[in-house]
């Protein structure tokens, strides 16, 4: 009744190609953005900003990035943690070498650094496919983390831990511990919105279609004139760009202090992969839903077990791990195409509701 596009006529090409062609979607997205930008900052406190909103936002960017590679281009990658580390350490090096550079530029530049590394480690994808490639990308994960710990140049010849210096954006401190929760939240949110908008437009244009052609059958795609070299490497580059930006944000805003082997270990790679699988492969919305689920679930489980039942933290941790596993398997069985598919089904239902016939 409420979600129905009947009567909305598209009278120009621009309207037909709009990012949200349906009026209800437009209203919804404006409402969501208004709440996120105007309402939430007034109410957000340190706890919500640090342990819920910021991880959700930065991991959404990473999930979008990985979704471009895995969901749209079909190249399985397990090196997410490594590329995040590239973003983080690149932003650290740039910030300490050029103290006057604006923070936004720093983060975008570190995204480009990660993109370069991504192209390098994407090269094997031209020769090997499927799980062979997945395992090969693990090489980047382990090698990059080792390199950041081992080569002193990356952490400015101090301890392997790196700490972010305070930086301002539009006169407000956004990095380091002196920044306010609302400022940090808004800073991340800006990147998320712009990133998601760009990604959405990318995947529905020519680039995205050639990615999907490669994903569905690379030889056939080659035959119709899509160049596998450029397409695959572009997917690796753009995916790593997003992941690098997410890594830079994790370091600069969310954590403030990181050590490569802890903050960006292989579990992060799996976490992001879980996000896109549970959220939905090949869906930008799915990246957000998956990130929200994977960030919120452990917090909720922990609060229930430690808060309500008063369990010991160690026992709760073990139960939490097993429950996570059970839930993951459960969701894969119930809906292998993820939350994005559930949302699609719901929309179909809503279109007819309350009179399905």
């Amino acid at each position: 009744m409420f979600y129905r596009e009947s009567g909305q006529f598209k009278s120009s090409y621009a309207k037909d190609q709009a990012i949200f062609p349906i009026r209800q979607d437009q209203i919804a997205i404006v409402l969501i953005l208004a709440v996120a930008f105007l309402v939430v900052p007034w109410f957000v406190n340190d706890y919500w900003s640090k342990s819920v909103l910021q991880p959700f936002l930065v991991f959404s960017i990473a999930a979008i990035g990985l979704n471009i590679l895995v969901g749209y281009c079909g190249q399985i990658s397990l090196g997410t943690g490594g590329f995040m580390a590239v973003g983080a350490y690149a932003s650290y090096k740039i910030m300490t070498s050029f103290p006057d550079m604006p923070i936004v530029l720093v983060i975008i530049l570190s995204g480009f650094c990660a993109a370069g590394v991504g192209i390098l480690f994407g090269l094997p994808s031209l020769r090997i496919k499927g799980f062979y490639l997945a395992v090969a990308t693990l090489a980047s994960q382990f090698f990059l983390i080792w390199m950041f710990n081992k080569v002193p140049w990356f952490h400015n010849y101090t301890m392997s831990q790196i700490t972010v210096p305070p930086r301002e954006f539009l006169g407000v401190t956004v990095t380091s511990s002196s920044a306010g929760p609302a400022a940090q939240y808004l800073f991340c949110l800006g990147f998320v919105v712009v990133g998601a908008w760009l990604a959405k437009n990318l995947v529905r244009g020519r680039t995205g279609r050639s990615w999907m052609a490669i994903r569905d059958m690379d030889i056939a795609a080659e035959l119709i004139g899509i160049r596998p070299l450029q397409t695959k490497l572009l997917a690796f580059a753009i995916s790593s760009f997003y992941i690098g930006i997410s890594g830079a944000l994790i370091f600069c805003v969310y954590l403030g202090t990181v050590e490569a082997s802890e903050a960006f270990d292989i579990n992060q790679s799996f976490l992001v992969l879980f996000m896109i699988i549970i959220g939905g492969l090949g869906s930008i919305l799915g990246s957000f839903l998956g990130a929200g689920f994977m960030i919120l679930m452990p917090i909720v489980l922990k609060n229930i077990m430690v808060g309500s039942f008063g369990m010991a933290a160690v026992t709760a941790k073990h139960i939490e791990i097993s429950l996570m596993g059970v839930l993951i398997v459960f969701f894969l069985i119930v809906e292998p195409h993820g939350f994005a598919r559930l949302w699609q089904i719901l929309k179909e239902k809503l279109r007819l509701w309350p009179f399905p016939y």
Partner: protein, 378 residues
Amino acid sequence: MELLQALFVSPFMDMWNEPAFFIETFTKGLLTGVLYSLVALGFVLIFKASGVFNFAQGVMALFAALTLVGLLEFMQGKDMTANHLVGMTVVAAVVAIGMLGLKKVNKISSVQAPYALLGFCAVVGFAWILRTIGLPNYILIPFAIVGTIITMIALAYLIEIAVLRPLVNQELIILFMSTLGLAYVLEGVGDLLWGSDVKILDIGLPTDIYIAEFPFGDVYIEQLDMVAAVVAAAMVIILAIFFNKTRIGRALRAVADDHQAAMSVGIPLKTIWVIVWSVAGIVAMVAGVMWGSSSGVQFSLSLIALKALPVLILGGFTSIPGAIVGGLIIGVSEKLAEVFWYDLHGGAIENWFAYFVALAFLLFRPQGLFGEKIIERI
């Protein structure tokens, strides 16, 4: 210039000057490689038969080793915490379910539901009796091993019911992710049941150092490594016989070759999967015991899965000889690089070096050394 020398000259000089040390490192590498192959073998078995890239193999090794230690400590009458008791009960329950499963697995045993309950009581009672009598270790250890094997079989059955069967015909990446979920579950449950502290696994394997005397010097080899190599070799031979000579083995190979064709000649796919996962579980147990005996049973044991992955791509996902040869290549090259090229990289390369070796091979053979030729069609 210095770099080139450190890369190409001085390591080989070192090898030439100290042949005994070189042989020692080489053997150590070979023996470590054997363990890698053992873990990789479990991967290959499952991948061949069910097309599942089983990431939980390493955690299965950990789980098996934990169960073995737990059972052994229980029967030896060591400290008994609440967790321990719960652990025993759960293992017994799993075994009982497993017995029910065996009944389904085509008349291997004819256990009925009530008997499964009986089996449950029997396991607990038996372990309890052994505990109160206080038998010497060499009697208890075989019991613990048999108990662990039964647990792994039961686990395979449970995995088939709860994970594989509902996910039949899904995409490979979905199956892969489900084994990741499985890994989380096993890790959490294992830690819950048996505690997360480091445990010492002593099943009477020798721990001395064997000294081989050569004219150019002495070579030290740990006896535990030698035992591990012998056990792994025996394991491979047994598996080869099992695959080539038995009825089930032939069915397994048929399934590995072509699911549809195997089903159409009447091979029960589900049974085969349970068997394959059981075999992989037992292989994981052997790997877990060998690894656990040398460095204690703890969480890091599950990370040997990550060491086995490069072996896997090097040898090819579908090749058993590939897993063995790949393991040896990786083991040796890793140890040599670690020891002789130390000046160049400054250590701790074991995490990634194997991957680069495998990648180098992959550039020339994208399907691994022994993998099946990838034929692509439109």
